[in-house]
Symmetry: C2
Subunit: 473 residues, 2 copies
């Protein structure tokens, strides 16, 4: 009999999915034998048929069971990995990584510690379908055939603003919020906005190491990039002050990739520097939704009194990157010229996506969803840290835990970064390189790998870490 | 009794909508009296309840009827325009223009001849909802939480390619198709792609008059714009040859705004020029779907043997601008550097929109839809031309008929462009300016207005033209 622990915050269909998956993998439901019917299971568990159906469909999609016309769901034959007998973990065949099958860094590995992945079961599929049904209706026909507001529909911008104000302390008027299709697009607009009239290329200071996706946009806009070292507490202000830069791109809530959190004193220093040099700060708050201990530090934008911060956020980590939706807050002093430059531009975000997210937020699903995935990712984070401790605590150093969706792992076994990655790859595990995030690669001395966990479940994380240890030590 | 002419290509709910609207407006269904129940009407007409429901909902949305809980639909009190008695057109209160309520150039006028509007009833709402229901399903969960392909999902790019090949003669491999969120976004990428390494600003030749939305993108990319006069047959090649430009942006299928169609000989001359000077041609095929007489001339891309044409198209005119979806075809010689420059960029088009359009095309809805709206717009076009002829043939000159979604009207009554626009505005009619499309405004001598018709129905067009005549003569 399947037992649901309703105290768990995880949705019921996820619990059904997990437990049925284990029964198939462990052979408790043998190959070719029938699973309980949807009706029967929904009655025994007292859950809706849909809940069971989704769990079963997901198991089908992942190849654990097969659906036979008018007959039901049957366990599939599973190909176990060669070394299964050794670890003996019945969950080792976890298929969570299939969720990343289409993300850019997809590795084809069974255990994919790829950064920024989203576990498919974290996506609010039912709500999404319900809302889109409500939205695609004659009542919205006019909107469905018209150009949306060039900065994004006012209702959505207001909804985003309210959320940012409560969760990040960001204060601004709806007119300052600009909807965009990803952080790179936001940065593209900012590059044009701040472009000097002279043909001499301007400079932008960047954290080193830092987000390479931003770097390539700056390069494509012929900005001269000034790398500034990252130390404990984030970007080294002293070096910034000694640089000619009048524009800086930073990730203070959780420096990417090191995970350093910039303390309030340094944030104030940064604002002082900006005020003194009339500089602009681009604050990329890319994964501020995920902080597992203590309270999040408010955004720099929230303590900026002179309008020198351009704040950026995205729905890619918290909802889905397939939405291609991000936003930025333009400070009042830059608003007039922003409007002047882009007044003839159309928005890049489709109306339907805008309306979906707006309704998702307004009807309270967003808050619930955030609580749910924050909890799910905290669980994954804790599992990852615990298994690393229990398997190789003395041999590795964990960098940037307690927040976000990834950690850095410093491995002191004489391997190079390439060797660290290729050795685990042979064991069916994908981890990310870190050196690519350095501008001045000389600074990247100790070999490290990047480990994301948001796409996997706990069992997969444990099995994956076990394999890391085997490959490295 | 309501009679449906099923020979009409218009969908049933549109016919029901139109006829019920007329009955309410004409008073055949008096204020406050009940419309036939949905069940009753669907039975009498032998159409589904949904069909009737949509028609009724649309009437509600537009304020002709009101829906009373558990009682039915009732005719609303209508505010007739002051001069209604004069024209006596029962349809004068038509609400088609409400479809433009949110498009950038919305005028607030009852008769909105705004360019590029789409009549809400032209949008395939039911199909759209059906498809999105099919798409938002567990089977697609992985895709729904992943980054789409950076140039657009391969299946969609292949579908677009097939269509372009059949309808426009465009020949290329799927890898050359790049999905984008509007022509301006396409042009942004092209500007970066063709940017010279030197800091000296490059030049781009543009048709004068030409599309101002493209001009502003070129300006924002610090390109030096060279205006080239438009004559019969399109851009004046001689002037182009005498210019330093090695890049030209043109709309040969239907020059915007003049509607000139570039004959094949001139197209070949243009390609010769490009070959001789190693120049690049940007071919914007923005409304090629709409040609009402004769066969469309194949795209320049289709006769380009040296890979010097960057072809662009959009779904904004044919499906909806709310989709924010466009595409371009990168010629082979530029493909390598395009990939190199943008390899780290994520796509700007959400996965769901991509999947919707892909399925819409693959299941054959796209072809049907095109036939339907082409017919609808031809009808609107013919009505417009006919009413202009019958009301003021001797006093005006029509420029650029028989294709597209707009015409230019040259009015010789001594009014300035401003006077032409403001005088009709006072009569509740919106027409667009033309002078703004000129770079060298000196060339824009004779006062003209731009008249789009794709957002209105025939009755509104007739009533609107009647008012134009009254205002001008």
């Amino acid at each position: 009999m399947i037992i649901l622990d309703t105290r768990l915050k995880t949705p019921l269909y996820l619990q059904i999915y997990e437990q049925m998956k284990n029964r198939v993998i462990s052979g408790r439901i043998p190959y070719n034998s029938r699973l309980p019917s949807i009706r029967a299971l929904s009655e025994t568990l007292g859950v809706s048929k849909n809940t069971v159906t989704y769990a079963y469909r997901q198991l089908c999609a992942e190849g654990y069971v097969t659906n036979r016309e008018r007959s039901g769901f049957y366990a599939q034959k599973l190909e176990y990995p060669q070394d299964r007998g050794i670890t003996g973990d019945p969950k080792e065949d976890g298929a969570g990584s299939s969720g990343q099958a289409d993300s850019p860094g997809f590795s084809g590995c069974r255990y994919d510690f790829h950064y920024g992945s989203i576990n498919p079961l974290d996506f609010p599929l039912n709500t999404w379908r319900k809302l889109s049904n409500k939205i695609i209706s004659p009542a919205h026909l006019n909107k469905m055939v018209s150009y949306p507001d060039s900065s994004g529909e006012p209702e959505l911008r207001t909804a985003i603003l309210r959320y940012l104000n409560i969760s990040r302390g960001v204060n601004c008027r709806p007119g300052q919020v600009v909807l965009c299709s990803g952080t790179q697009q936001c940065l593209n607009l900012v590059c044009r906005l701040l472009k000097p009239d002279s043909t001499a290329p301007a400079s932008v200071a960047m954290e080193d190491p830092g987000y390479d996706g931003a770097r390539v946009v700056f390069e494509n806009n012929s900005l001269n990039i000034i790398p500034v070292p990252v130390e404990k507490g984030g970007i080294r202000i002293r070096d910034l002050e000694n640089s000619p830069a009048r524009l800086v791109y930073i990730t203070p809530s959780r420096q990417f990739p090191t995970g350093e959190i910039m303390p309030i004193r340094r944030r104030l220093k940064l604002l002082e520097w900006a005020a003194r040099t009339k500089a602009v700060i681009i604050e990329d708050d890319y994964d501020s939704e995920f902080r597992y201990t203590g309270n999040p530090i408010p955004a720099i934008q929230s303590i900026d009194t002179k309008g020198q911060v351009i704040y950026m956020g995205t729905f890619s980590r918290s909802l889905s990157p397939a939405l291609r939706m991000s936003y930025m807050v333009i400070p009042t002093p830059l608003l007039a010229s922003f409007r002047q430059i882009f007044q003839r531009y159309n928005t890049v975000v489709p109306w339907m996506e805008q309306k979906l997210v707006e309704t998702f937020i307004k009807e309270g699903h967003w808050e619930k969803h955030l609580r749910r995935i924050r909890l799910a990712n905290k669980k994954r984070h804790d599992t990852l840290i615990a298994s690393i401790h229990s398997t190789m605590a003395d041999k590795v150093r964990i960098i940037g835990k307690n927040a976000g969706l990834h950690i850095l792992l410093e491995i002191d076994n004489g391997f190079s970064e390439e060797e660290l990655i290729s050795s685990v790859r042979r064991k069916g595990v994908a981890v990310g390189p870190v050196s690519r995030y350095w501008i001045d690669r000389e600074r990247c001395k100790i070999p490290m790998v990047l480990i994301g966990y948001s796409g996997m479940d706990s069992a997969e994380i444990e099995a994956g870490v076990m394999r890391l240890k085997k490959a490295w030590f």
